[in-house]
């Protein structure tokens, strides 16, 4: 009876967890794991938990033992609202496990700490809790390091830090570690079937993963399950598909890369290649490209502005034949000495660091040539349209009730999972075609998102989702420009030019300032008229 009740409790906890995960999944790209298939790395999808309690296929428990390296991590998070940018959404909770590494550092996934407001570490057996803070985080690689918020002497003394294993291969036997209700270690075996590159969570986050088969129990702390090989940390659970019982694991090599980059305290992040390529299996296409029978390689169909590829001089229509000495085949794969056939993106993203040399042999105009240069990284803040925003709200400015903000992918994603068709199509189109705007000199796309009803915005209720091109004759290339124009303007009426309907708006400068004050303290209680970071 008691047991049954305990299971129920866990189920409801898992539910909370899943909500947290879905929240994150929204911030990720459209082709995230299916909802329900453990979005956010929580293996306890709502619908499968009862099956466990109903005595379905019993999970294989190899050995129950004592926990030696794990702590519970409890996170309260509160994401900003992208449509009402001065507000935050209601807080939620995520519970997961953290892995103790040397130097009293705790490794977790990036997801669990996204938009965190309070993080605490909990000793699994005693229940003792201490507050913690984020030491380093990389949302693309989905990894974070935590440390105690204040120095604590004896919190970790019963635990032994784990070392990272970066040498797992296909066929290796792994274990999933989970903690039971009183901190007992629950061990589940699994085996690596495949190694490939796959999307993590946020846009553009293609990295190495292991795929394994094995049943994972539904337990309370399901975020960030450590995966162990021979007593070393081989990875963290990224997602679990309960229907097919396959788990995707964020692997040791990526963890090692993250830790190594962090070692000097100056985190640079993973380098990016910035190339879009097409496979060349099509004989007719190959003949058209002038590829010989024995020549492999892929066709470059796009080069990201500001990426490594652009900087070393790679161009559209080049054929990539080799990368850092590895032959690239017609599918864009190379033979990795450790993992076998793998997408060439791993050469850059997984095994190189910012500043390393990049050497690409291409076929251009029928001639082979080698391009070399240094690997760089395009940071999310350098994107015209931010691919993700965590731990910060979107930049915005309210003037007299008109809400201006910088276009970002999270703003578009706030229109729902099918945002690519349900968000304003013009804005979706702009977000995917930033080149022209970058050429114009824009650093960000400033949009008039909506109008709050005030005296200044009388008659403007229907306006929204329009790109701002000029205010008082000044071009607007980011929100700081707009702020400056409003501040320095001597006009009694601001003239706002928009790319879209109604193209032209007027705002009384004095009334707008008065309305601003009313919005701050009155009905809408904005509390903040702008955020420009």
């Amino acid at each position: 009876m008691n047991l049954f009740r305990a299971t129920l409790t866990f189920t409801s906890l898992s539910l909370t967890l899943l909500t947290g995960g879905v929240c994150l999944a929204q911030a990720g790209p459209g082709d995230m794991p299916k909802p329900g298939s453990a979005a956010g790395g929580a293996p306890a999808a709502a619908e499968e938990a009862p099956v466990v309690s109903a005595g379905g296929p019993a999970p294989i428990i190899e050995a129950a033992g004592k926990n030696t390296a794990l702590v519970k991590v409890n996170v309260t998070f509160q994401p900003w609202n992208y449509r009402i940018p001065w507000q935050k959404s209601s807080p939620g909770a995520r519970r997961g496990l953290g892995v103790l590494l040397d130097g009293n550092r705790i490794l977790v996934t990036g997801q669990i700490v996204a938009d965190a407001t309070y993080i605490e570490l909990e000793q699994a057996d005693t229940g003792r809790k201490i507050p913690a803070k984020v030491k380093a985080v990389d949302y693309e690689a989905n990894l974070a390091l935590l440390e105690p918020a204040t120095a604590v002497k004896d919190f970790f003394e019963d635990l032994t830090p784990l070392k990272v294993d970066a040498d797992s291969r296909v066929g290796d036997k792994l274990q999933t570690w989970q903690l039971g209700r009183v901190g007992d270690l629950i061990v589940t075996p699994m085996e690596i079937n495949k190694v490939l590159t796959s999307l993590y969570n946020v846009e553009g986050s293609m990295f190495l993963v292991y795929e394994t088969i094995g049943i994972i129990r539904s337990e309370a702390n399901s975020f960030t399950l450590p995966i162990i090989r021979d007593g070393k940390l081989a990875g963290l659970l990224l997602r679990y598909d309960s229907k097919n019982q396959t788990a995707t694991i964020l692997p040791g090599p990526i963890i090692q890369h993250f830790l190594k980059d962090n070692a000097d305290g100056q985190y640079q992040g993973f380098p990016s290649l910035g190339v879009e390529f097409q496979i060349t299996l099509d004989d007719q296409f190959r003949e058209y490209l002038g590829l010989k029978k024995d020549q492999q390689g892929v066709y470059v169909s796009g080069v990201t502005k500001g990426g490594s590829a652009e900087q070393i001089g790679l161009k559209e229509e080049d054929i990539i034949l080799e990368m850092n000495g590895f032959k690239v085949d017609s599918r864009g794969d190379y033979k990795d000495p450790k993992y076998g056939t793998l997408n060439m993106s791993h050469i850059v993203r997984g095994s190189s660091y910012v500043g390393d040399e990049l050497k690409v042999k291409v076929l251009r105009g029928g001639k082979e040539q080698t391009l070399t240069g240094k690997l760089t990284r395009k940071n999310p803040k350098d994107f015209l349209v931010a691919p993700y925003l965590f731990d910060r709200g979107t930049n915005f400015l309210v003037m007299g009730g008109l809400i201006f903000q910088e276009l970002s992918i999270p703003f578009l994603q706030s229109f729902g999972n099918d945002w690519e068709t349900s968000a304003p199509l013009r804005l979706v189109h702009v977000a995917k075609h930033t080149d022209d705007y970058e050429k114009e000199g824009k650093r960000k796309i400033v949009i008039l998102a909506a109008a709050l009803p005030t005296r200044s915005t009388q008659g403007y209720e229907r306006v929204g989702g329009a790109i701002v091109s000029e205010v008082n004759g000044q071009p607007i290339n980011d929100l700081a420009d707009l702020d400056k124009v409003f501040k320095e303007s001597k006009e009694s009426i601001h003239t706002i030019k928009l790319d879209d309907f109604p193209k032209l708006l007027y705002l009384d400068a004095v009334t707008a300032e008065l309305d601003n004050q009313k919005l701050l303290n009155g009905a809408y209680r904005l509390g903040l008229l702008k955020r420009i970071e």
Binding site: E276, Q278, L281, D282, D283, Q284, F285, E287, Y288, Y299, S301, G302, E420, T421, L425, R426, V428, H429, K432, H433, R455, S456, T457, Q458, G459, Y460, I493, H494, T495, D500, F501, P502, K503, L504, L505, Y506, L507, D508, T511
Partner: protein, 508 residues
Amino acid sequence: MSRLLLLPAIAFAAMVLPLKGEEKPAAVPPPAPDSANRTQPGDADPFEAIVRIEAAFLQPDYRIPWQGGRPSSGSGTGWLVGKNRFLTNAHVVSNSTKLIIRTMNDPEPFEARILFIAHDCDLAMIEAVDPKPFEHLKPFQIDGIPKLNTEVIAVGYPIGGDRVSVTRGVVSRIDFQSYSHSGIDQHLAIQVDAAINPGNSGGPVLQNGKVVGVAFQGYSGSVAQNVGYMIPVPVINRFLKDVEDGSYDHYMDLAVTDFPVENPAQIKALGLEDNGLGVMVANVDGASCAAGLLEVGDVILSLDGSPVYTNGLIRVDGELVNMNEVVERKFAGDKIKAEILRKGEKKSVELTLKRYLPYLTLGEQYNQRPKYVMYAGMLFQPMNRNLMEAHSIRDPLVNYVFDNYMTKEIFKERPEVVILTTILPDEVNSYLQGYQHSIVDEVNGVKIKTMKDLAEALKKKEGDGKFVVIKLLEKNRPLVLKRELADAAHPVIMQKYDVSEESYLGDE
């Protein structure tokens, strides 16, 4: 103005009744013999000039454009408007292959044909092939706009009955409405609370025995209750006048988007007096009759001497209606005088009205054979509403182009947006699967603006002519076929998939 902007997000159900699976209504008990209201033999039946129209349709399938389409049938109502001239809805007779008229007192079917059809206002005029049987019937007289809250009756053949049905109600509202037949046109329409049901379509709405409207649409499902719409007399009269010269010339359109002038700063900046007059021009379409004459930021003060209010309304025949009603009542080549305020200066502009064609792409098309070009299994079709729906196109770029075809003036660069809709699988194109639902930008070095361009460019030899190179808009690689292989595969694919003709580019 006929824009999608103001389309209410509610599905209209056109009132044609499908005949298939029709259920016979339950038998009505015979009337009591001593009823005072009983029709006496020899009485002229007031509703005899209201006929049932049965149509057989052929709906083209845009997914298989080379085939004839799917046969179906339906029925509606029509009424005599002149000697052997029956008025009905366009949607009752659209795509029809055969039309039959039946009167209430004669079981014999009479063959009929379409004289004029106006898809933009959902009206059609048909005639009986043999006028004799209808010679004794008296045409209906047409009245005007009925007053609000006055009683009207709707007469027709709803729910498939053989006998005429009469329902009664009052005029509930007079307003601009979307006409669901084309999906893109808006005209004046009158809302009545008389029951209007499938089969009523095309039937007259009468007041004191005269026609005050043509029943044409209502809401489906539980959106609204007791709401039916009729096409009012101004629209009917315009249609009748338009066809007097033997052809229907359609509605004219300003293609100007207006924006209300309610904001004090806006009033001041635009140099207006605060007197409730004037509406701002927010967009002038490049292909409209106002292009070059009106500009964004102009304020329209009056049209043909009638003041335009800040919300874009104007008074016509005593009713406040959308200012486009002034345009609605005019014909091709008519002039319209607009008083405007530009940068504080009053100006007078004369516009010569013309039809605004780009918007047709966004509307439902009828009585048209779908255009297409087939080459080596690749099916190319021009973008339009029927196509978007038939292929359920989800591609974000195609949807963006469809949505912004007018607002971003895409029609200037691509009068016909050519889409690769389907690839019939064959060895020759097996690596091209996945590129369906893309816009064709260039073929063999030729920019594709129309279907005709495409058909010609496919045959053009670029360079050594060894390859056929198709560049798709924003799809990251060209589709390349070896001409010799593609040319050889082409007839085989046509035969295998039973494609009778390799293209249909319209009647020329």
